[in-house]
Homo-oligomer: 370 residues x 2
């Protein structure tokens, strides 16, 4: 069996460049190899600059996917009785609330219609009514394509003395993430979206103030103190995956070479080109214009079109992967990712042309059967 | 900077073959790609056969290192008040006890001198005095090179109605692991030792009876029910790392082609050849003959020899990595791994020759300075 070549335009993973693939297939090193330990130092510095973290923040990568980053943030800051206020604008806000509940936190959810951003006034109001130790917010809601106003919400949390947990899984490396301005904050992401590495690592940064608010961590694997001992003081904790580390390190070199601002602009421009092309096809996005991600586009499935059939057509005929809707949006949207190395004008054009054909076929053309 | 080529003869990772490296660098797929989902089915079957698990066991791989496997076993079976008896014959038995304690279990430790195996009578005695919900045992204690009599201890646990948690991190794919005979059992391992893939995945198997003894899992990331939903029912849980999955899948194909019995014999023979060669050099192993692993050799550092200097010499002059002692054995032993693709007669000969030179240099030769 040969592994098929896909053009990854779904909610992630995004395409991995040749340079990053070469780094991934470097000779395997152990977790305590002197060379690898130097790479870890360099990786911490590159991650900190990508997060725009303060010099005294603790920044490293968890050995797991983005969800392990979410759980690491919670496991180090929440315990039974912790009061948490979580903005739920979609599937991943809900997941963050669930993980907090599993750790015993008393969670108040600010439920927002899927497809809309959270009005910061609702957070202000919630914290006035009930102070919270933690405020959880997903900056880039991958399930709806919505950008939440995280700078404003972090400011409100800061004024109320709450730690803010920010999920930047679908923004880091592609849209502005400014943790150093967020006060007592923890922010996590993943390796396989805006950064363009394979999945398996979860970058995470704790501000110095957040580190002082740690609780007893039930998890040994995700204990940030033990991870700091390994990353900074070379004390064995787990056998970190050298191929994933070398790949992420190379992906971050590419981010650095391009420059964060230029990278953000590229993502914005290709998003705009996609939206314009979709509009020509008569297609619209779920979130209103000011609330959209540049990385993940939630495209409404028009009436009379078979949602799954179009995805299958794109995969079978063009090798293009896009994502389906989750939860209440299943069958109602497609999720089209333009992230990392995948955010190019050529990919926008190729995708629009393929989508046009697939939608036409689904409306009665001869090429799709269910 | 060029990544150095190492001969990995430490406690893991073990060398990764060309075939597995090629699989690792296959085109990247998403976690829901139809091709990848087929690979997951095939991977489950290959893992089950490597564990020698019963057909009704649940076998999959956790997206993390061996320690995440350890934590997954605990997080799904232990809660505050759970009574656990843990055999501690070294660093990893202690880690298992610590993780159980973090999850609220009442842990009784059976402490055994580091370098010796546990006498099963001590487990029998402990369970008679205090029945336990769980018995934890590390089959292959990586910190001491000791093989524990896991078949006997699992039998005792079974007769007492206890679930047995077996750590097979340094045995699976290299030494006999027979989970189907262990009753109500959970067994986990890692990808980067006996199996010969890069680190980052933790194979795990729950017997059908163990699945009925699950508790509420505080961890979302390690919840075996949610993982089962993804692996078996394709319900999204996390973005599994396709490169790691494809690499492990290929490594298991190699295990299957060689045959488990032949593979065990190869590990035994190369271990024996190493012991014989060490003895010619005047070197001895920490554990007595009947209690030794074939995968990991704990070699006593002779008087007058600089432990770290020898390791540095091997790494700098020969590119050979071996491991240091952990905890009370730091400075007292070297840990020499012959695992997976690394267990060859050529590696034994190369290592013995390099070690002889390094030890001589350390005893007063001109080539090592501290």
């Amino acid at each position: 069996m040969t592994v098929p070549q896909r053009l990854l335009l779904g909610p992630g993973p995004s395409p991995v460049s040749e340079r990053v693939m070469r780094a991934l297939s470097s000779p395997v090193l152990s977790h305590l190899d002197p060379y690898l330990l130097e790479v870890l130092d360099s990786l911490r510095a590159r991650l900190a600059s990508t997060f725009r973290a303060a010099p005294d923040a603790l920044t490293l990568a968890i050995s797991g996917t983005g969800t392990s980053g979410m759980e690491a943030a919670v496991a180090n800051l929440a315990e039974p009785g912790t009061k948490a206020t979580v903005v739920v604008t979609g599937y991943f806000g809900d997941r963050l609330a669930q993980i907090l509940e599993r750790h015993g936190a008393e969670v108040e959810r600010i439920e927002v219609e899927w497809g809309r951003a959270c009005d910061p006034a609702r957070v202000e109001d919630a914290l006035r009514r009930r102070p919270a130790d933690l405020v959880g917010i997903v900056q880039a809601e991958t399930s709806t394509g919505v950008l939440n106003p995280v700078d404003d919400i972090a400011g409100i949390a800061q004024r109320h003395g709450s730690i803010v947990i920010v999920d930047a899984v679908t923004s880091l490396g592609a849209m502005p993430v400014n943790v150093s301005t967020w006060g007592t904050a923890v922010c996590y992401s993943c390796s396989q979206k805006g950064l363009g590495a394979p999945s398996g690592l979860a970058p995470i940064t704790f501000s110095a103030a957040a580190l002082t608010r740690r609780v007893f961590c039930r998890s040994f694997y995700l204990d940030i103190g033990l991870l700091e001992d390994y990353w900074l003081r070379r004390k064995y904790h787990h056998t970190i995956s050298a191929p994933l580390i070398l790949a992420l390190h190379e992906a971050l070199a590419i981010v650095e070479e391009e420059g964060l601002d230029a990278r953000h602009t590229r993502h914005e421009q290709n998003h705009n080109a996609l939206v314009e092309g979709l509009s020509t096809l008569g297609l619209t996005l779920l979130p209103p214009e000011k609330e959209r991600l540049w990385t993940l586009n939630a495209v409404r499935v028009p009436d009379g079109v078979n949602e799954a059939g179009v995805r299958r057509h794109l995969l079978d005929k063009y090798g293009i992967e896009i994502g389906a809707g989750l939860g209440p949006l299943a069958g109602r949207i497609w999720r089209v990712g333009l992230m990392g190395a995948g955010s190019t004008r050529a990919n926008v054009d190729l995708f629009l042309s393929a989508l046009g054909t697939a939608v036409t076929a689904s409306r009665g053309g001869p090429s799709v059967r269910h």
